[in-house]
Symmetry: C2
Subunit: 157 residues, 2 copies
Amino acid sequence: MHIAIASDHAAFALKQALAAWLRGEGHTVDDLGPDGEASVDYPDYGYRLAEHLAAGHAERGIALCGSGIGISIAVNRHPAVRCALVGEPLSASLAREHNDAQVIALGARLIGPDMARACVTAFLDTPFAGDRHVRRVGKLSHPPFPARPAANESSAA
Amino acid sequence: MHIAIASDHAAFALKQALAAWLRGEGHTVDDLGPDGEASVDYPDYGYRLAEHLAAGHAERGIALCGSGIGISIAVNRHPAVRCALVGEPLSASLAREHNDAQVIALGARLIGPDMARACVTAFLDTPFAGDRHVRRVGKLSHPPFPARPAANESSAA
């Protein structure tokens, strides 16, 4: 499978480990950075991953930061991409089965490397269930919001 | 605190339980639905919650569905709202401390009511840490994407 991966500095080591493991399993891996442990901002890498997926350059994506929270929010800003923050394999399976998620986010400071691999395996192995989920997933591509906060919403940002 | 809560049918019972508990703790709770266990689509309720928060009608939000995944994606479509899907209190604290999240999402089929309350308590009690996180959180309100998928991105939707 063609898989893209991106992280922040806190998850750099996990990114390197997962990329090497996935390549060893025969997958094609696009490493979207960063290239080292210097401090970066997770939205930059989450946005890069989302654009890569939306453009069709990869079939699946893995988004990593310290907790997984920040980068999962960034990826989900893209209306064509669905990212599930997971900490165990059942959620990773449900993200595929019910939500047709193209991306999972993992927290490198919260789960260990074996759990991360178990999540990725469940994510890659589970098909979308279709059926009633198709309508709901479709609605996720058509949010009733502008892409930027309105002026009177700045306090919430 | 002024708190809004929304769910899908799978998480209706947890929504009722959390709303009653929060009111008993002295909070003001806006219940944005649904009103019963009839099947609904989680994006509709996630979007309603996001708009409620972005408009300043509540300070914090709680988003519930079976896994928490689908409704967390919906809430995060709004560029002024940050939603963290969590399954334990440490993640709920980090969502506030690092990401200034206004909303947490919980999976009613994955965690029990005591764990849900522990997550909500950590979420309500933890302040934003500010500092270097301010710049990163700010970037989450300015994604470099349109609000709708481009025509050539339809395959990813």
